[in-house]
């Protein structure tokens, strides 16, 4: 199913503008992630699509050729996985998964067959008669997913489905979820504040800030070609280089950096993995912090600019704190973005 939102906004009764007028299209079978910090309007947008919130007048929501703007949530046939899972404590796992089918008035044998099938897909067949309280966090998450997809919804919505899990489990389930979503071949929208989650699961990521979609594209596009300081900072933690411009050069307190192009009127960003500790580099600074992270070191270098610049150091023996190091940054790894004052 293709989802189309036009001019959809949400103003709460107290005047808070949770969502600015937004247009969004999600193609059939596409998995789109809404990524942004808390309070950016991503959950509001998801709830509007589900029908749990009413958009301001003027907004329209289309499921294919079906205008659902005025339809209540129970008639929209969307599946939703809630952050807290919202599993019914008064029902067994099987009854939870079958509830949506019961609402569709399917016959008992049909419901049983479909529940068995969905539980198998989610590797939950052993748990059908268990009560919800007897499940672990990861199992609950899978039950919530199974319950949402069992009625074959037109659209699957997931609201931070992994955030209630601990870190180790989250990573495993993230990959599992990505595989399951492809297996179901369902149009899905996935809300998260975790860029790794968005990148791992989504075909396309829509980055949101202050009630707007600021950029939307594949994870690679967003990472390599951010169009704003916010996206550069939020996706991949780019750092802004603060210095004075001089045409093709950027003057920093630790030296002069060639930009390879005219940087006038642009803010300049770089990612930690592109900051190289290199004895022939044009910049000079002091090592202030060194953190060992297993596969690499994270080195904080001061004296290059007012803030500390982070460098990822992949070698075996990291420089020591207090040491003076030379730093190079390849011109092609710099991101030049339209000036918006100070970047994040």
């Amino acid at each position: 199913m293709t989802l189309r939102l036009t001019n959809t906004a949400k103003t709460y009764p107290d005047g808070t503008k949770a969502l600015m007028p937004t247009d969004l299209t999600v193609e059939t079978g596409e998995v789109v992630s809404l990524l942004g910090p808390s309070g950016c309007g991503k959950t509001t947008l998801l709830r509007i699509i589900a029908g749990l919130e009413t958009p301001d007048t003027g907004g329209e929501i289309w499921f294919d050729d079906d205008n659902v703007t005025a339809q209540p949530v129970e008639r929209r046939n969307v599946g939703m996985v809630f952050q807290s899972y919202a599993l019914f404590p008064n029902m067994s796992v099987g009854a939870n998964v079958g509830y949506g089918l019961k609402m569709q008035k399917l016959s008992k044998p049909e419901i049983d067959a479909r529940v068995t099938q969905v539980l198998e897909m989610c590797q939950l067949e052993k748990f059908s008669h268990r009560s919800i309280s007897a499940l672990s966090g990861g199992q609950r998450q899978r039950v919530a997913l199974a319950r949402a997809i069992a009625p074959r919804p037109r659209l699957l919505l997931l609201d931070e489905p992994l955030s209630a899990l601990d870190a180790a489990l989250r990573e495993t389930l993230r990959d599992e979820l990505a595989i399951l979503l492809r297996k179901f071949q369902i149009t899905a929208i996935f809300v998260t504040h975790d860029q790794d989650e968005a990148m791992a699961i989504a075909d396309r990521v829509a980055v949101m800030a202050e009630g707007r979609v600021v950029q939307s594209g594949t994870p690679e596009e967003l990472y390599r070609n951010p169009t704003s300081a916010f996206v550069a900072g939020f996706v991949g933690n780019a750092m802004q280089l603060h210095g004075t411009h001089d045409g093709m050069l950027l003057k920093l307190s630790g030296g002069v950096l060639p930009l390879g192009r005219d940087g006038t009127g642009q803010d300049i960003f770089v990612r930690a993995e592109d900051v190289l500790i290199d004895s022939s580099g044009p910049l000079k600074g002091q090592v202030e912090t060194v953190t060992f992270l297993g596969t690499h070191y994270r080195v904080g270098i001061g004296g290059l600019m007012p803030e500390i610049l982070i460098s990822i150091f992949p070698g075996q023996s990291a420089p020591r704190i207090g040491e003076t190091v030379q730093v190079s940054i390849k011109p092609e790894s710099l991101m030049l973005l339209p000036q918006t004052g100070r970047g994040k």
Partner: protein
């Protein structure tokens, strides 16, 4: 050792008068003591004289339970779904009959409805008093359980699965509120059967409930009959009390 003695004396303090009273109800002649023999004739006598009161009380309790459920469940649901200062005030307002003495409540009812002869003389008049008095227990009991679960999200979950508001209420709200409903129901029945103050003001000579009959028998019957009445009262109310304790403990575990 000391602890045992204290416990035993406390038990004796509580049980001796009860046992004495019950014994008096099955003694052939109280003034001659137990040597006059044990008999159930006083119990049968009570049955002859006061069977109507027993049935009236049971009937009132059931009707009262029905009314408090009918009003209390939607009220508790509404309060749980819309938390805020207004709900808080409403909850306190519903609870007012707990603080106001039953006599005052009865007087107010008499002032308001006393002139409506048909209503004043019917059992429904006592029922109104009982509903007013027991409703807060039902509402609070259900509310405590509902407040402990994330009702809003559960209902949203059901809604996305296609459940209409009524289906959500039936399939999600009521089953999850059940421990609170059960605890509230037992409390309401127990209170309704045992209520005296208010009922004594509202009753007519033809409508005596169990406790009003008890007072009547104490005032006008011989001691053995009155004691046998106490026995009958115990037999009815003690199992209810125990069931109520069990259900409230269960509901509280969920509410925590």
């Amino acid at each position: 050792m000391l602890q045992l003695i204290v416990t035993l004396s406390a038990c004796a303090f509580l049980f001796v008068p009860t046992i004495l009273s019950v014994m008096a109800g099955v003694t052939a002649n109280y003034f001659q003591g137990i040597s006059s023999g044990l008999t159930l004739k006083w119990v049968f006598r009570v049955w002859e004289l006061y069977a109507d009161s027993i049935f009236l009380s049971l009937w009132l309790a059931i009707a009262c339970l029905f009314c408090t459920l009918l009003i209390g469940l939607p009220a508790a649901y509404g309060l749980a779904r819309h938390p805020g200062w207004l709900s808080r005030i409403l909850e306190e307002f519903i609870s007012l009959p707990l603080a106001v003495p039953g006599l005052a409540l009865a007087l107010a009812l008499l002032q308001l409805y006393g002139s409506m002869k048909g209503f004043r003389a019917s059992w429904t008049f006592i029922l109104v008093g009982h509903v007013l008095y027991t409703l807060p227990f039902m509402v609070r009991s259900i509310l405590a359980v509902l407040a402990a679960i994330d009702l809003k999200t559960l209902e949203e979950g059901a809604a996305t699965l296609g459940a209409s508001p009524w289906q959500r209420f039936r399939d999600i709200v009521v089953p999850n509120a059940m421990p609170g409903i059960l605890a509230g129901a037992l409390t309401v029945v127990t209170l309704s059967i045992g209520e005296f103050n208010l009922t004594w003001m509202l009753h007519t000579p033809y409508l005596k409930t169990l406790p009003v009959g008890l007072a009547d028998s104490y005032a006008s019957m011989r001691l053995e009959v009155a004691s046998a009445y106490t026995l009958v009262f115990f037999v009815l109310i003690v199992p209810l009390l125990m069931a109520m304790q069990w259900a409230s403990a269960r509901a509280q575990r969920i509410a925590q």
